[in-house]
């Protein structure tokens, strides 16, 4: 019982541990997926760095992949900034997945350069736990700026980009391809991931149960 309490305390984001320095395990946010965490350096999404999530088609589980981490960050009182999301982040579903909605900021820039500027500001502010962005055009120079901003703000920078940009150079610490899995084994929908780039490791393929995948179990009517 006591051990559990200590464990819960240690998970608290506001707690500063004197023995720990940057570069330790703290610099990653657990993904919430037991099969994914061991594959990632530090055991989660890298804090103070960019993570690129490459996907082809909206609705393949790309957002659900980061949802457990975002929900945990928001409950620790960190801010989640959505810069120019392509659709409406749906409040009832976010709340159902454990997100503290009062910690979410939606930012609606009118122009593309304003969007990149807003991403940089949010990353750099040191207030946001994570910044989500869907940049359409993003050259390596802009990515480099964002990477530096994420380092300065010790923030999770999540960029959702089409998988076509996979061939382009990127300073992101983690590049991961996400999409629905062809096979549906047993219950629920699964998704396949391909880690294209990670610190201290080569590419890897894995498959995991998609967030909200259980909603699709079994055959529908008709």
């Amino acid at each position: 019982m006591t051990e559990k309490r200590v464990e819960a305390l240690l998970q608290h984001g506001a707690l500063w541990r004197a023995g720990r320095t940057r570069g330790d395990r703290d610099d990653a946010v657990p993904t919430g997926f037991a099969t994914l965490d061991p594959e990632l350096p530090g055991g989660g999404w890298p804090r103070g760095a960019l993570t690129e999530i490459l996907f082809d088609r909206d609705g393949g589980g790309e957002l659900g992949l980061v949802m457990p981490a975002l929900a945990a960050l928001s409950r620790q009182g960190r801010w989640i900034a959505w810069v120019a999301p392509p659709y409406i982040p749906y409040a009832p579903a976010l709340a159902a997945l454990g997100m503290d909605l009062s910690r979410n900021l939606l930012i609606h820039p009118r122009r593309q350069d304003d969007a990149l500027w807003a991403v940089e500001q949010a990353l750099r502010s040191g207030t946001c736990g994570a910044v989500l962005a869907w940049p359409r055009l993003c050259d390596p120079r802009a990515l480099r700026r964002l990477q530096l901003a994420a380092e300065a703000g010790a923030c999770l920078g999540l960029l959702f980009r089409p998988s076509g940009v996979r061939g382009q150079a990127s300073p992101a610490a983690l590049r991961i391809g996400a999409g629905p899995a062809r096979e549906t084994e047993g219950h629920g929908v699964r998704m396949r991931l391909r880690i294209h780039k990670r610190r201290g490791g080569g590419p890897a393929d894995l498959s995991l149960a998609a967030c909200q995948g259980d909603l699709f179990s079994g055959d529908g009517p008709r």
Partner: protein, 479 residues
Amino acid sequence: MLWLCAWLPRLGLDCTARLDEAGAAPAVLTASRGGRERVVLADERARAHGVHPGLSLSAALALCPGLAALPRNERAERATLERLASWAGRFTSRVCLVLPDAMLLEIGASLALFGGLEKLVGGVGQGLEGLGYHALLATAPTPLAAEWLARSGSCRHCPSREALPGAVADLPLDVLVPEGRDRDGLAGMGLRTVGDLLAQPRAGLGRRFGPWLVDALDRAVGVAPDPRPAFEPPARFRAEVELPSESADTTALLFPLRRLLDELSAVLQGRCLVVQSLHLELRQRGEGATNTSLGLRRATADGAYLLGLLRERLERVRPRAPVTGLILESGVLFSAARESGTLFGADGGAGGLETLLDRLRARLGEAAVEGIAPAADHRPERAWCRVAAGQAVTTGGSDGRPLWLLPEPRRLETRSGRPWLDGPLRLSGGGERLEAGWWDGAEVRREYYRALDCAGARLWIYRDLTVEDAQWYLHGLFA
């Protein structure tokens, strides 16, 4: 009591907006006197060419062809002096204006706090230089003696009342009577210095020149009382600057703006005040002005921070005509608990968020940042709402809803009775029937399903039951 007098001999020139200190042309201030435009103040570069006050403008231009002649603006000088008096409130609670170009600070009670006379006088001098004003300082136990010492340029510090007559003795009579008939009369009597005057019998001086002269001497040496009205700092900060040349480009405004904000910041920090709103007016050639207001989430006293916000704002302001001047006015200044740095540098506290929100709103507009919350309605498009960023929300989640909602439901094709989106869609759960809204005119009758497209993407679609043939729509994505 100990009075510090700060005399600003170049106030008229210092309060104009100079764009570049280093490369500036020699400048003079002119005013109309005796029907002719005459020099009233010349800066050092102009003096080096032989230009001095009293010269007519045409003569001055002949001496120095590149001379920049600015008309004297007494209103701006007065306003500047008042801002500086406001700023001086950081050293003492008692500041008095000496129009047109000096101020008095009662510093007797502040000496211990600031670590002695030398440090306090140094602080005032450096502060004024830092804001861009040349000042001559002197201290004396009476306000008038302090003013005389400052105006004479001797910058002396007289510690006690006993030493006063000696300290002012060798000052020229200019400090007392700059010009006119009385001056000639005194000179005719062979009197050259204040000391000469003090040595004369008072009664005779009074009969010859009127009681004012005796009164001034008595006040200077502390024999007669010399009450001065204390300056009351205004509740708002207001500064007005005329540009030396018209400017169509708003980035050229940053230099004068930076000076005004430095002043504002110095006033605020000195008096432990903060500002929460700013109004900037860009005056334009001809009629009209462009106005922009800045409301801050976090009250601040930081001039550099305010400049950053106004810079973002100015990048988006397009004045219709070239700008000739600017007016900066603050909202009501109020006192706040002094800000202090955090132990571990930038943290995730609320202060950081306010800074971020201010910055985002300054560039993107007030409405560009918001929060979201669930709303109590069965219709999916009304089951969420926009709220102020950071507003606490009651969490009412509903399971089985997608993470993305389309702003407008998208009509789907139907092929052989099945919904179609780049291929046939396979229904994979749901069947939730929804009938609501008949009471407010936005009635919906729908049947919601979860569906997979042929690439495996997870969709949230519905069949509209209000039309005869079932029409399918895409409403969300399980992203």
